[in-house]
Each structure stands twice: as C-alpha cells, then as structure tokens.
Symmetry: D4
Subunit: 162 residues, 8 copies
Amino acid sequence: MDVELTCYLSGEIHTAWRDEIEAAVDELDLPVDLTGPVTDHAASDDCGVTILGAEQNAFWKDHKGAKLNAIRTRTLIGEADLVVIRFGDKYKQWNAAFDAGYAAAQGTPYIVMHGAEHAHALKEVDAAAFAVCETVEQVVAMLRYICRGELVRPTPSLSVVR
Amino acid sequence: MDVELTCYLSGEIHTAWRDEIEAAVDELDLPVDLTGPVTDHAASDDCGVTILGAEQNAFWKDHKGAKLNAIRTRTLIGEADLVVIRFGDKYKQWNAAFDAGYAAAQGTPYIVMHGAEHAHALKEVDAAAFAVCETVEQVVAMLRYICRGELVRPTPSLSVVR
Amino acid sequence: MDVELTCYLSGEIHTAWRDEIEAAVDELDLPVDLTGPVTDHAASDDCGVTILGAEQNAFWKDHKGAKLNAIRTRTLIGEADLVVIRFGDKYKQWNAAFDAGYAAAQGTPYIVMHGAEHAHALKEVDAAAFAVCETVEQVVAMLRYICRGELVRPTPSLSVVR
Amino acid sequence: MDVELTCYLSGEIHTAWRDEIEAAVDELDLPVDLTGPVTDHAASDDCGVTILGAEQNAFWKDHKGAKLNAIRTRTLIGEADLVVIRFGDKYKQWNAAFDAGYAAAQGTPYIVMHGAEHAHALKEVDAAAFAVCETVEQVVAMLRYICRGELVRPTPSLSVVR
Amino acid sequence: MDVELTCYLSGEIHTAWRDEIEAAVDELDLPVDLTGPVTDHAASDDCGVTILGAEQNAFWKDHKGAKLNAIRTRTLIGEADLVVIRFGDKYKQWNAAFDAGYAAAQGTPYIVMHGAEHAHALKEVDAAAFAVCETVEQVVAMLRYICRGELVRPTPSLSVVR
Amino acid sequence: MDVELTCYLSGEIHTAWRDEIEAAVDELDLPVDLTGPVTDHAASDDCGVTILGAEQNAFWKDHKGAKLNAIRTRTLIGEADLVVIRFGDKYKQWNAAFDAGYAAAQGTPYIVMHGAEHAHALKEVDAAAFAVCETVEQVVAMLRYICRGELVRPTPSLSVVR
Amino acid sequence: MDVELTCYLSGEIHTAWRDEIEAAVDELDLPVDLTGPVTDHAASDDCGVTILGAEQNAFWKDHKGAKLNAIRTRTLIGEADLVVIRFGDKYKQWNAAFDAGYAAAQGTPYIVMHGAEHAHALKEVDAAAFAVCETVEQVVAMLRYICRGELVRPTPSLSVVR
Amino acid sequence: MDVELTCYLSGEIHTAWRDEIEAAVDELDLPVDLTGPVTDHAASDDCGVTILGAEQNAFWKDHKGAKLNAIRTRTLIGEADLVVIRFGDKYKQWNAAFDAGYAAAQGTPYIVMHGAEHAHALKEVDAAAFAVCETVEQVVAMLRYICRGELVRPTPSLSVVR
C-alpha cells in the first residue's frame, strides 16, 4: 500500500520549484498533498495592513503581515509529515531557517534543497535534516521512494526496482 | 490547493457575529469548518441542573453547567486550527479570556475581535494573539487570505491579488 | 453545525447500558461514535492464553489477557473526545477507576455514572470528572446537549430549547 | 516530610493580598516559594516603551509592554505547582482569566479568589479550578494543609489535626 | 553512583506501611525521597468544608475535599520517578486505581502491592505495573536494587551482590 | 462497531510474513491498515546514494540511505496504533529493536514476534511489549480479537465467541 | 523575591556582546545563568573531524561538527527560560534563525537583537519574538526588569521604580 | 561557564568502558554526572525472581527482571541530557538498540560507540545519533568539548584551543 504524505514546501518563492514538484507528483500520481505559504510576495508583505489597518512604522506593518502569514504556516507545518525547505541564491531567507528549526523541535523530518555554495553556512540546518539535495528531481525521487519504495537506477539499468 | 481550517468562534453570544461569519464563509465557499459553544444563553446556564439535578446553591448550579459546557468547548478548542475570540461591549466575558489563555498554552493561534475601548484592558490577551481586529469583515478577509492567499485591495484597485 | 464526538464507554460489562446508549444515539441520530472494550467476559478473560499459550499460574494468564485487552482500550481511550465510565453495583471495578485516571492524565473529559451509594468511595474519581450522573437517560441528554445544544426541559414545558 | 510548593500569585495588583500571603507563609514557615508578576502598575505599563523605544500608537505601547511582562509570567506559570488567581472588585482583569486558561491547558492546578458577586460571571473559570475561595486566610489554610496536612478546626476544638 | 529516586506512596492509609518503608529507607540510607497523600482520614475528608465553607449536600463536601487533596496528589505524582500503590484488605480504594491509571498515562513507572486474593480483580492495574508484590520488604528490596544495584540473595549465601 | 487499527509491521524483511498477515486480514476483512518499511533490501540500501549522490565511504552511503528510509518509518510509526515487530533467525536486526524503543517512548503498544531461542536476549524488548508471540497466526488472531472481540477457541469447541 | 532565569545567548560570535551582557549581569548581581554555544569559530568548525576522524568531503566535515555542536545547543536551549538571539552585520547566520524556530516550537520565549537594516528580512523571526531590540543595554534592562521588576526611567528622573 | 551534563551510559556491560570514562571525567574534573544500568550481569538477570518470587518458566523470570531493571533505566534515560550507547563485540545487545530508539523518540541526543564491523548493521541506529565513534577517548573528548569548548588538536600543535 502506498504511503500518503502531507508535505509542506517552505522557503524560496521566486522560482517555480513548487510548481515543478506539483507537476511531477501529478504525473507520477503520488499520494502526496503539497502545501505551502502564500507565494505572492506583494500579498504576503501587505496582507497585515490591508486587512487590519495601515501602520506608519514599517516594523509594525511587517509585524502584522508576518503574524497573519504565521497562522497559515504554523497550521500547515503542524500538519505536515515532511517539510521540504529550499534556500535560493538570493536574500537572507531567515524564515526558511526558522521553519527548519521549528520542524526539528516538533520532531517533523525535513529535507533541505540548496546549492553547494551554501553548504558551510547551512551546516546546522543540514545537520538536523533527513536529506540534503539540490534539485527538484531529487525531491521527487525521494517522494516516490518514500511513498512507493520505487527507486529508479541510473543507466544502463533504468529498470524500476520495487 | 486551498488550506482547510477548523475555526472555533469563542466569546460574545449576544450579537449575530457567528452567523455573519458563517454566511460570508458560505458565500465565498471557503474551506472553513466553523465551530463554537452553545450560544443559547438560557440553555447554557441551565443545562447542568436540568440534566443532572437541581441545586439549592447557585454556585453549584453554575458549576454543573459550566463543566458540561466545557466538555464541548475543550473538545472543539482542542480540534481547532484557529480560534477567533470576540469581546463585546457588555459583561465581564472572563470565559473569552480563559479560552485565549487555553489556546495560547496549547500553541493554537487565535485572533481577537474587540472595540478600541477595550484595547488597554485586553493588552495581555492581544499580545499573545496572531491578529487583533474589530469587524466580521476583517475576520472573513483573514480567513480568505489564510485559506486561498487572496487579498482584496481597497479602492481604487479592487482587483483580487492571487 | 453538530459537534461530532468519539465517546468511549468504560466500566461495568454486566448490564445492557452500552446498548441502551447506542439505541438512543441511533434514535436521535446523534453524530456520536461509541466505542468500548470487549464486553464478553469469558473472551476477555481467556484471550491471552487462548492466543498466546496456556499458563499454569493464574497471574500470568490474567497478565497476558489484560495486556491484550489493553491494546484495544489504550487505542480507543487515546482516540476518545469523551469517556463515560460506569460503576455498577458489584465487583471491585478497579479497571474503571484506572481508566478514569488515565483519561484525567491525558486531559480527556470523562463522565462518571454510579449509584448514590458509591459517592463517597468515588469522590476522587468524581472530583476529576466533568459530570456525575446515575442513568443512561442522563448520559444521552448530555450527548444531545453537547452535540446539538438541545436541552429538553422537564414538564410542564417539554419544549426543545435550541 | 513537608511538600514543597512553587505557587504563582496571579491577578489583582491593587491590594496587599500577596504581601499578606507572604507574611502568613513566613510566620508558619511553610515550604512555599511565592512568585508573581511585576506589581508596580506604572512600571508594568511602561516597561516596553521605556526599554525598547517610544510608540505613537498606544496599542503598540501596550503590545511591547505586555510581551515583555509575558516573558516573566510565562516562565513563572510554567514553573508553578499551583497558581492562585485573585479577581478584585474593579477592572476587567482579563489577564487573570487568561492565566487561568493557560494554567488549565498546562494541567497546573489553580485556586480562584473572588467575591460572591463575581461567581456567575466566573463560572467557567471556577469550574476548572481546584478550589474557589474569598480570603487570604483560606489560601493560607490550603497551603498549610497541602504542604503539611495540618487542618485547623474551628472552635470549640481549635486543635491542630495532623 | 547511587540513583536518587522520588517515590510517591499511594493507596491504603489504614496500616503503617508508609512508616515501615520510611524506616527501612532510613536504615539503609537509600537516596529515596518518599512522598504521599495526607493520611489523616478525618482531615482528608473534612479539609474542603473546614477551609472553604460547609455544604449541606455530602456530595459537594466530598467534592471540595477531593479537589483540595488533588492539588497535593497531582503535584507529587507529577514529580515522582516511581509510584508505589498499595491495595489493602478493605474498602473500594478506587482512588488507588485512579492513581495507577494516572501514572500509566504519564509514563511514570509504578509498583503495585496487594494480597493474592485481589490478583484477578486488579489484573488491568497489575498489567501496566513494572512490578507486583505483597510486602514492604519487597518494596524496600526493589528500592535498594534500583538505587544501588544491591541484591540480597536468600540463604544460604546471604552475601550482598553488587 | 469494529475497531479500526493502523498497524506498522517492523523488522525482518527476508520472509513473507507481511504478505501472510495481509492475506489473512483480507480474508477476514478486518479493518486494519497495514504499513511497513520498504522491504526491497537492495533498494533500501542504495536509495540514499542513488538519489542524493555517490559516496566513497560506505558509512556515509549507509547514513544517507538510513535517513531517507527514516522519513518513511518515522511517519508510519508515528501514525500507528499498534506496531508488530518481528525478529527473524538471522542478522543483528538492531533496527527492529530501535523501533521497539521508539514505539515504547511514544506510548504506542507493540507486539513482538520471535522464536523461543531469542527470548533471553530480547527480554528488555519483550518486557515493554503488550504481547509476545511466534507465529503469523497468533498476530492475526490478536488483530481479530482487538478489532472485533472474536476469539476462536481451540478444539473441541471451535465456536466463535463474540 | 527575584526571578531566576536561565538565558541562552544564541547567534553572532564575532563581537563581544556575550561578555558585555555577562559583565552587566555580574555588576547588577542579577540571578541570571547565561549559557551559549562554543564561540571559538575554529574549534566549532573543526571539532567533528578532530575528535571523530578526518573527512575528505567538506560536507561531512561540517556535518560531524554541526552535530557535535548540536548536542550542546539542544541541551542548553532545552534548559533555557529565555533565548536571546543576535543577528550581526555579516554572514548568513542561518543557525541563529534555526534557533529562533526551535525555541518558538518549544514554547520558549526569545528576544531578537539586530540592526534596523535587517528588520524586513527578519520579520517572521521578529514576529514570533517576545521583544526586538538593538543593543546590549536593552537586553540587560529587560533582564533586570524581568528578574526584579526594576525599570530605570530615562532622564530627567533616573529614579529606579520598583 | 561550563555546561553541566547528565550522561547515561547504555549498552555493553562486559568491559570496563564505564569506569574508564568515569576516571577520565574525574581527572579532567568535567561537570558530568554519569549514570547507567546495573552492570552486575547475574544480579540484573536474577533481581526479579529473587525479590518477587521464583518462576518455573524462564520467560517470566526474564520478564520480572527486565521490568524491575526498566524502572531504573527509564528514570535515568528520562533524566539524561545525553546518552552514550556502546555495542560490544558479542551478544545481540538488542537492549542497547532499544535504548537508542527510546532516546530518539524522546528527543534526547545520543552517541554510539562500536567497531567498524558493525557499521552496516547499525546504520539506522547510527543515522539517528549525534555522533558515532569507537573509543572511550573519543567519548571523553566530546564530553570535554561539549562542556568546556576545549578541543585538543593532534600533534604537532597539542595546544588546547579554547
């Protein structure tokens, strides 16, 4: 029987990696529920003041927005069986590292995706991870293996081992 | 994919705010399960003695009723992803503040609704909240944003950002 | 919206109280899942040795049986929103009091049913309960009130307050 | 052997009830560590802006202060074996009810002190309490009994039962 | 290095078993802190009404007393590394079985002491215990072994194995 | 009503015991969801390096594979109501004992299957189990009893007691 | 009575902020136990391979070191009543954000120190904090207030309010 | 300030590794409390039947002994900041792997000591560990580093980096 997973996709919001994972999960028909934060950067920044009232001080604008977003992220990380956290090339991305610490303290396994250039700076985040990888293909291969036990060997074999 | 939320509506029971939220959630077809206490004031006061036997002392009448109501409220707050707590204009409403403390200790996010005149007296309750607002429209806008990432900008734009 | 409850019926197994509650829940169409221990006394006593092998010493026969039964009871008490515990007229019924302590430590509300003659001896068990009653009718009236907020007033009114 | 207790004194800060309890505990030499919030009202209100910087909006002044006070109160309620919560004659005192809910969700026993006129409004708070009383003398008598098992009977006996 | 234990002695209060354990622990100088409920039966029954006010209904007298006693017992069972629970010859002793369930749900090991005649009725309580015995000597021998690893062999050897 | 169980089958992967349990559960139509680790030994060993990149050092190859497998096993053991752990004739099978300790600390009941020759070496694992058995038939009989209360007596009776 | 605090100082290790806090705590004689990570950068990087054996691949060198450091940090964050997390001017400092998430999930209050230029990027980290500040003086003033309720007003008054 | 650690030494009991660690900890004056199981093999096997009464069936002899030993081990693993688990050359040592799983589920860091020949069979146990090593010297070096941040570099430098 396949294993059903709820998988929260945390971190970088400026590339299409979430869509790529979703497409691959659909194509393989994996029993994985993908969740994530609001990825519209402007909406994510403005939600607090738009709904709850303007602030003169940028700090409180950010504060209201971040707390409103946190209702969603806390709920979804709390429900996740697995968190995948991507660190992109740009920005500080402290929220991604925060989510890693949150998942670790909860005892929820997480996978980190990042380029090799960040390996040393992310060593504490990686050390508490269950896997560290670079590509969407690797994430999808792991989801496939975790859910179905299917492992695609590289050429020349290419046969699916199950 | 939309985020499904179970949302407990705590506090004031003398205005129609729960119905208004329910109507708006229905109209927007949001994936939100709304729960709440028994809102019939007389039934809520009398349930203990009606079912379990009369008491001469008002204290024990209240005690039996409050404990019976607590079976419902503990269960529903325990299941909630989010608690919305409304403080109205009248009464002490200590049970609303109790629910806030209960949610906080459980780690469940809560939103507080109250008029500006209560802001100072509610500062500890507000400080542990994930959002503080005044109107049903704001609560609904937050539920919409949390579930769907949809943020309705005020005029002139009015466009839905998603 | 009605509140769905999972309700574990613990304790006395020699009268038909579980069936009576089940019949009333069915008649009222309450959204209550009723669970309970294996109530066949002989099976409950013999299950351990029948499946796992005979024992010369009665203590170990009891031990194997009690542990096998505990797999079921731990699972169901763990899943319950509410536990109803009935103390009958006969026997020591220490397992019923054990279940009360277990539910209390888990933070799961429980209701105790017993005759007035046991009130003093059960005072610690009653003190941690959310309600204490004597009859099946009272249990059903509580389930109805908790799930639907319906309170049936005694005559002369008899009207359902909702 | 005496039972050592850490007891957090929550709620009303405008009368000398904490000092009276402390004096009685000292006189009886009870092994009770008494803790509590900062009871200087002005300092409690101003601490946030004084240390962390002024705010134009009173809401954020309160917010910063309430959060700073919460570092102390969360720590001490977390460490308490018992919480005593006093509701006075005046003010909304929602923070006191918040502390009650917080203690209840943590599983920490609490005692409520209040005048009879508040009994109905506090019924939910009282229902989750381990004792409800009105006077400092009653609190001290409970601490004495809990720690030492000493119960002072009223006249004519007056003898200490141990 | 010796293991320090905090050991709560629950259950029967009409024989001197607690004193006997204490004496033996003192004689062997075991690093064991012994705790327990208030064992003065009259004080334990009357504490609620004596301190908190008289009740006409015996049920509420018991209720107030049992809750006040529970402040002590919950605190001490919560702090215990080990609970020893004695079931005597008389009375229902449901509070002892309640304590067993409470300890089990908390994950705290407990030892049960009872006569062979209660073995079948206590099978669920015994099944969750870490040891079942009949005498004070056995309890003390276990405490000695747990703390120091010392096991006194029966004759003819009598030598202490360490 | 039948009890639904989620049952994780841990341990030995070189015989067909999981398939046999699954076949019997299907035949009896028991409401049991069976889960387990990836049982393809080669895939289980190679998954880490195949997906995440080759390693020169066998230790890190094992490390990457074991962590990837742990995402599945942690999730499934976390969801299980019951864990069945089989120790076979060969190999060290330390992962099976690890799963037993993990389940015990989580408070999840587990059943151990092993031959009599391993009884002494497995005494700590067995002591924390809810049942110890040798055969698939015994596991199935327990699942049947736990879910349905059905106990099949040995000859001459053979009747199903329910 | 002063409140005793155990305070973990997380984050930036290239300036003397920890020493400055320690000096101020000593001067004020505050009952605060200050803890923190190993702050020798070279030792922190090399500890894994120095003790556990060299690695050719920098990733595994980092991995071994980060895990060894995590034994210390997990223990100390687990014991902390309060975490103070400083983000400096340089480096990614993802481990600091990880610690914030870890503390948040544990329910441990934390304070963030950072320059105004990081406010937007740290908004999620700040939103879950109990206070956000920039200087060591502010941290010390908070510790003083939390422990003793002492609030030093700015000029012209300068009087200590207690 | 040095970090105080409580460290439980689990596993192999036939060599003097615990004494060697203790001697080194004493020599370095590290603030480490070392705890462990009863290491007298005969006493550990016989404690149950010696104290609680003989058994004809070896299984129940083992059962009684293992549960009595578990009172000690559960208490000490529960109190440990760190667990060190040694797998020796001989025996199945399933209890050591059980302790590893127990510590992992509790969130307590553990270190594994074993020879290289066991690496593959222990891969799941090692994967959840915070460090894997072979010698007592390595354990002591880690304790020294964790407590004091002292790292002894190999020759030629030999200087203590602090």
